[in-house]
């Protein structure tokens, strides 16, 4: 098994080629309609038809937002590349041990799905030949690129797509590893480590969708990309399941070859068989004027669905992307309201033997015929093994077919932006300014008195600076750590520990306060509930007075029992540490005076 990962991280500088803010926006102030067409290049006669097709088909509607300008609209040439974004990309490159190019050249990567108003994505390779080390070993990072984010898709219909320009042009760092990794756990570790390094720059955007990972998985046959795996903890599961899927497909291919299995081109109209069917899906399609078409899969029986094999699902996924859900195959029937008798009739009409299986699809004829083409194509691939695919991850750890893997990218220079020279003196300067590597940072945090595990967690949340500041100023490292880990990112923790330190409430109350703040309550409001707080000194004074003989008698040994009494009264209201300090002071005074 070989696995690689590609990470895309948005930066929170200004946009890459203009001065607009890098954020999302719901403030839509206008719209334009555009058409994109493939530029003419090495196109032959065949592609010309595709050009005409693309012309009448799709319109792109772009929503103009308050954070977009003529550059995003492709109405003004790009400005020079944002320096802060370049600097961030270079720092990340250095932290990943990569070699920075002497001159950055911006390229145009052709993308005509409308996600870029220009029809291309601007991208530049800034560094090469880096690596990252984890406990699993070294993973190579051949390229680090700085590129512009695509527009945000809002709506998609057959003849138009709506995109919003808020996201277009946000800088993205793209980090691609070699397919060096051997397990899902390793991939997760590498993704995490690169994530820490990216966040260490303090120049990355945070929140949903601001970092995206794609997995490349190959088990010797075919290349599969799982696009957009956002949950790092799920990566091992996705990898494991994909490896299983590929192993299954390889086994299927072996068997099909051994059996000399065949995929025929003939498509049979089976609509008549289903005139009185109990299958609701098929009945509905026929009622709407649809047909039921069938395809013979010679010597495929038992491979479409069994304890071990799941080729049927692969076929269904291929037609699902063109909107067909009513696909059934021989290994799963009779079921879904399709009767044994109907199955018998199908088998007879298609002239099937025991080893043979079949696929039927119900729906509008044109669509079903297109679907059958896809099934034939996929079934033929099954004889060869694992096809190259782009797949989408699902929450249950599986994935689903999206589209074929795109071919080589077509790139040419962005002539509107002169090359950017990166002198060695500048690289040396950046090296001196590099943020600490995550391991060092974890050591810093551990030295303040928390566990390594908590330290990594805080780093993962990107709260290490805030943690450090609070723990150094007020103490309570473990409580601060726990509060942050159990709490949320967007509240201000400092006042909580400031008032804890002043004895406004006890440390036992911290978790509850943080939780309420994360739920939107204001700290001042919560604090006011602790207003009628007891006078600690008064309480301690009273206890000591009452037990003065006890202290004189037991001397230092009196402290513990007295602490118990004091805490009985003060628990939850005053921090034990403060009570302890004050009590010890009093007790010591009495011992001193009595000796």
């Amino acid at each position: 098994m070989k696995c690689g990962i590609e990470i895309h991280q948005q930066l929170n500088t200004k946009k890459l080629f203009c001065d607009c803010d890098s954020r999302l926006s719901d403030n839509v102030i206008g719209k334009v309609i555009r058409i994109l067409r493939p530029t003419q290049s090495e196109m032959g006669e065949v592609d010309r038809a595709a050009v005409e097709e693309s012309l009448k088909k799709r319109k792109y509607i772009y929503e103009i937002t308050d954070n977009s300008c003529l550059v995003e609209l492709d109405e003004e040439p790009p400005h020079e590349m944002n320096l802060e974004a370049i600097e961030t990309a270079l720092k990340v490159s250095l932290m990943l041990n990569a070699k920075i190019v002497d001159e950055i050249h911006v390229m145009r990567k052709i993308v005509i799905d409308g996600s870029n108003t220009s029809g291309f994505q601007r991208t530049a390779l800034v560094a090469m030949n880096g690596y990252v080390d984890t406990k699993f070993g070294r993973v190579k990072i051949p390229t680090i690129c700085l590129e512009e984010e695509a527009a945000r898709k809002i709506e998609e219909k057959d003849n138009y797509v709506v995109y919003r320009l808020d996201r277009l042009g946000i800088p993205l760092i793209e980090i691609a590893t070699s397919p060096d990794m051997k397990s899902g756990e390793e991939v997760k570790e590498v993704a995490q480590k690169i994530g820490y390094i990216l966040r260490a720059t303090k120049k990355v955007r945070r929140g949903a969708g601001t970092i995206r990972q794609d997995l490349n998985i190959s088990t010797g046959q075919g290349r599969v990309e799982i696009k957009g795996v956002s949950k790092l903890n799920m990566i091992p599961k996705w990898v494991e399941n994909e490896v299983k899927r590929q192993e299954m497909l390889k086994e299927v291919a072996e068997i099909l070859k051994e059996r000399d299995a065949r995929v025929h081109k003939e498509i049979y109209d089976l609509t008549d068989i289903f005139t009185n069917t109990k299958s609701k899906i098929i009945a509905r399609e026929i009622k709407n004027g649809g047909v039921v078409l069938g395809l013979k899969l010679e010597r495929f029986a038992g491979l479409l669905k069994s304890d071990k094999f799941r080729l049927g699902r692969e076929l269904a996924e291929r037609v699902r992307v063109i909107g067909i859900r009513g696909l059934f195959h021989g290994d799963e029937l009779p079921a879904y309201g399709i009767s044994g008798k109907e199955v018998e009739k199908i088998r007879k009409k298609l002239n099937l033997g025991d080893d043979d299986s079949f696929v039927i699809i119900a729906g509008p004829e044109e669509k079903v015929r297109l679907g059958m083409e896809k099934v034939i194509e996929r079934a033929k691939m099954a004889i060869h093994g694992v096809p190259d695919e782009t797949r989408a991850p699902k929450d249950d750890g599986s994935s689903i077919y999206m589209r074929p893997l795109p071919g080589a990218e077509r790139m040419y220079p962005e002539t509107d932006i002169p090359p950017i020279r990166i002198p060695n003196s500048y690289i040396e300067k950046l090296k001196r300014e590099l943020p600490k590597m995550p391991e060092e940072r974890v050591k810093d945090l551990v030295s303040l008195g928390i566990s390594e595990q908590d330290a990594w967690q805080i780093l993962h949340m990107g709260m290490e600076d805030e943690f450090e500041k609070i723990a150094k100023k007020y103490g309570y490292p473990t409580i601060v750590a726990r509060a942050m880990i159990n709490g949320c990112r967007d509240i201000d923790y400092e006042p909580v520990f400031k008032y804890l330190n002043e004895g406004k409430f006890a440390k036992e109350a911290v978790d509850d306060i943080v939780l309420r703040m994360c739920n939107g309550e204001k700290f001042e409001d919560i604090l006011s509930e602790f207003k009628e707080s007891v006078n600690v000194d008064e309480v301690i004074e009273r206890i000591v007075k009452n037990k003065i003989e006890f202290i004189r008698e037991r001397r230092e040994n009196a402290f513990k029992p007295l602490m118990g009494i004091a805490m009985k009264e003060l628990r939850g209201k005053v921090d034990g540490r403060i009570v302890s300090e004050k009590l010890r002071e009093k007790v010591e005074k009495i011992i001193e005076s009595s000796s």
Binding site: V32, I33, R34, I35, L36, R37, P38, T39, Q40, S41, E42, E45, R48, V51, E52, L55, L70, L73, D74, E75, E76, P77, K99, I100, V101, D102, E103, I104, H105, M107, R108, K109, I110, I112, T117, S118, G119, F120, T123, A124, L125, M128, N129, T143, C145, A408, E409, R410, M411, Y412, P413, T415, P418, P419, R421
Partner: protein
């Protein structure tokens, strides 16, 4: 062996070695940096310690396009190329952008054109828009006359910077036209999928098929790819540096629009049965932009040896009063001086203020609502073809739609 751009090489640098295709050095940048196209398609610049040849690049012949069959029943449209990249295609191997030079190239670039017309195409020259000169206008005009034998309409792809000067000059030189002459450009070069060139070019061909007998400019109406506007060649001006809808008709409505179909909004000159060309231009005309503080000796040198001058005055058509003696002297010596306005929008009027009246008394000709650049071209053309008294008279007359008597709120 000699290493040239296009060869596949290995470059040793202080940071390791890099493999890829050696690219030609762009005109900018430092000399010691070589640009390499990596196997993944990216270009990078590296300081080379040593370059080793791995294999020679293949010399690529310019691709030959298949012959195009003319379809019966379709009109023939001549495309007269002047340079620029309104029609071009990219070579992804090297990143070079090649302009369309022949009819085949055009059709290759914009295939849907074959549904509209049979195409004849020829480059008369290949220059940048900003390098355009009156002698080139004359070349284009003569080429249009030649094409009259073969064609039912003319489309002239042109760089956008000086397109309105060319359109004005052709408007005056071509006194009678048996077909439309349509200038067209693009604000986004056609090597991009988002280029406005395709729609502009197709729209231009559609206009070239109409019964119009004038010189017009066809360009995007708005920022959207939904329709183009038809602007009269003497009324149009580029009003934005980069937008698709940079071209506007000034002091008049556009003549019409092109969506699926061509739609004219109002009156226009119809095709004549013959072509009349007056192709003389007197280049001794200057176009002078007045500004506060302009020195009279500068004005004097700008008028030196000239037969005519168009002034872009302030507001209703003024220059500072200390320039009056120079103007008076030159006009007395036979220089034709016309007044237009920097405002572009609106009509000049030399009766409202005293400076205006003095200019008028000095013999400065108020040029109504004519665009300064159009007035400049018109004066060159008139001086090339008529005597002085006729020139002065015709400058104020509407010959090609360049002047109107009424203006409206848009």
């Amino acid at each position: 062996m000699n290493i040239e751009p296009g060869d596949y090489v290995e470059v040793a640098t202080s940071k390791g070695s890099v493999r890829g295709i050696l690219l030609p050095r762009p005109e900018y940048g430092e000399g010691n940096i070589v640009v390499i196209k990596l196997d993944n398609g990216y270009n990078v610049g590296v300081i080379a310690k040593e370059i080793r040849l791995i294999r020679k690049g293949e010399r690529k012949e310019r691709e030959r396009r298949g012959e195009i069959k003319n379809l019966k029943g379709l009109p023939t449209i001549s495309i007269i190329g002047t340079g620029g990249t309104i029609a071009s295609y990219v070579d992804y191997k090297t990143g070079a952008v090649n302009p369309a030079l022949t009819a085949e190239d055009f059709i290759f670039t914009v295939p849907e054109i074959v549904k509209e017309a049979n195409i004849r195409a020829e480059m008369v020259f290949n220059i940048l828009s900003e390098d355009m000169k009156p002698e080139y206008w004359i070349k284009i005009a003569r080429k249009i006359k030649d094409e009259a034998k073969f064609s039912n309409g003319i489309v002239i792809p042109h760089g956008t910077d000086t397109m309105s000067y060319t359109s004005a000059s052709l408007s005056f030189m071509l006194e009678k036209l048996p077909f439309p002459v349509v200038l067209v450009g693009s604000q986004r070069s056609s090597d991009r999928p988002s280029s406005d060139a395709y729609m502009n070019l197709i729209s231009a061909v559609k206009v070239a098929k109409t019964d119009l007998g004038e010189v017009v400019v066809v360009m995007h109406a708005t920022s959207s790819d939904d329709k183009c506007l038809i602007h009269r060649g003497t009324r149009v001006r580029k009003m934005h540096t980069s937008r698709r809808d940079a071209f506007k008709s000034v002091n008049s409505r556009p003549m019409g629009e092109v969506g699926e179909e061509v739609k004219f909004y109002g009156e226009y000159r119809k095709r004549d049965d013959k072509l009349v060309l007056r192709d003389k231009m007197d280049e001794k005309v200057s176009l002078i932009y007045f500004y506060p503080g302009m020195k009279s000796d500068l004005l004097e040198s700008l008028l030196d040896g000239m037969h005519g001058a168009i002034i872009m005055g302030t507001g209703l058509g003024h220059v500072s009063s200390d320039l009056l003696p120079i103007l008076r002297k030159n006009i007395r010596d036979g220089v034709v001086v016309g007044m237009t306005s920097q405002c572009l929008y609106g009509r000049v009027n030399l009766n409202v203020y005293s400076t205006g009246r003095e200019l008028k008394n000095a013999g400065v000709i108020p040029l109504e609502d004519m665009l300064p650049e159009v007035a400049y071209v018109k004066l060159m053309w008139l001086l090339g073809n008529y005597d002085l008294s006729k020139v002065k008279k015709l400058m104020r007359e509407n010959l090609r739609g360049e002047i109107s008597n009424r203006r409206f709120l848009e």
